[in-house]
């Protein structure tokens, strides 16, 4: 009996979290429609907002298939985080986006490269003098936070 109860408790988080968000499901549904069907679906939206939405969905669709699948995996991982962590992650990503261009490129580059390293090597690099000299305290914090909310990647992917 205790076992059944424990199984139930373990199963609860699975019901609580959506592995695939409604947002992504809707995008995929819109993509499966004909242009006429999509227009009917979106016709109640204000025109400017609808245009922006369609443009963004098109941008998403225009990503190369391999990269798009990787992005969806990253997003699914992101969706599995607790809500507070997702909010933290959004803040981190926004702060990275708001960095001056040169620093932004370096920080993103660091996150991109460090994700591809095995844990040990990544930890060593994060603790290295070179890393500390290249990035200021805030940037180092952003890099660490970004790494915490993205799944590491085993091997580099060609984009």
């Amino acid at each position: 009996m205790r076992g059944i109860f424990l199984l139930f408790l373990l199963a609860l988080p699975l019901y609580a979290q959506d592995a695939n968000s409604p947002g992504l499901q809707l995008i995929e549904r819109l993509n499966r429609m004909t242009p006429a069907e999509r227009q009917k679906m979106l016709n109640r939206m204000p025109p400017a907002r609808r245009q922006m939405l369609e443009k963004r969905i098109n941008n998403f669709n225009n990503i190369r298939p391999e990269a798009r699948e990787k992005l969806k995996k990253d997003y699914e991982f992101f969706q599995q985080l607790p809500p507070e962590k997702r909010d933290d992650a959004r803040r981190t990503l926004k702060q990275i986006a708001d960095l001056p261009e040169e620093r932004r490129k370096l920080v993103r580059g660091a996150v991109h490269n460090l994700r591809r390293q095995p844990d040990e090597i990544r930890d060593r690099r994060l603790a290295s003098r070179a890393f500390n000299e290249r990035f200021n305290e805030d940037e180092r914090k952003l890099i660490r936070e970004a790494l915490a909310v993205l799944p590491p990647q085993a091997e580099p992917t060609q984009q």
Partner: protein, 158 residues
């Protein structure tokens, strides 16, 4: 009060500006607004005064034996004899609990939940649009990190 910003916008910008958490562009925009809006300038002054006043309010020093007292209470609880029902909390209460748990699990499984979307009769609903836009926001932010390897500066990164 002739400020063009609505109250919610005013407050959000005011608090963000005084806490220095606005992004650089918004800060610049708000600073420009302040240069022409006396009302908001006054509010900024007041808010800074409130922040300063709150900052000056320090709590008293903690009692020296706080931790000792806490650990003593923890030890006392651990050493206290357990109530009779603690040992008898065996299988009898567990049966109705487990049955309730199974019923709840069945309810959750059968419940359409958030991930099933009803076919919209007259087009997409406002909350569905918001979900789509939110998903796009998040994916664009995530994608921005993934495209770093095409930037020349990334090659020099750690």
């Amino acid at each position: 009060m002739n400020c063009i910003l609505n109250t919610n916008e005013q407050e959000k910008l005011l608090l963000g500006y005084c806490s220095a958490i606005l992004d650089p562009e918004t800060t610049r925009t708000y600073a420009r607004h302040l240069s022409v809006c006396e009302h908001c300038r006054t509010m900024v002054e007041l808010q800074k005064m409130v922040d300063e006043s709150l900052g000056d309010w320090l709590p008293p020093t903690l009692s020296e034996n706080f931790d000792q007292k806490l650990f003593a209470r923890i030890r006392a609880e651990q050493e206290a004899p357990k109530p009779w029902w603690h040992f008898n909390f065996g299988w009898k209460p567990a049966i109705p609990l487990a049955l309730a748990a199974i019923l709840l699990a069945v309810f959750l499984v059968r419940n359409p939940g958030k991930s099933e979307l009803a076919q919209p009769q007259d087009g997409i609903k406002a909350d569905e649009i918001a979900e789509v836009e939110k998903a796009l926001d998040d994916m664009e932010a995530l994608q921005a990190l993934s495209t770093a390897d095409t930037a020349p500066a990334a090659k020099e990164s750690i």
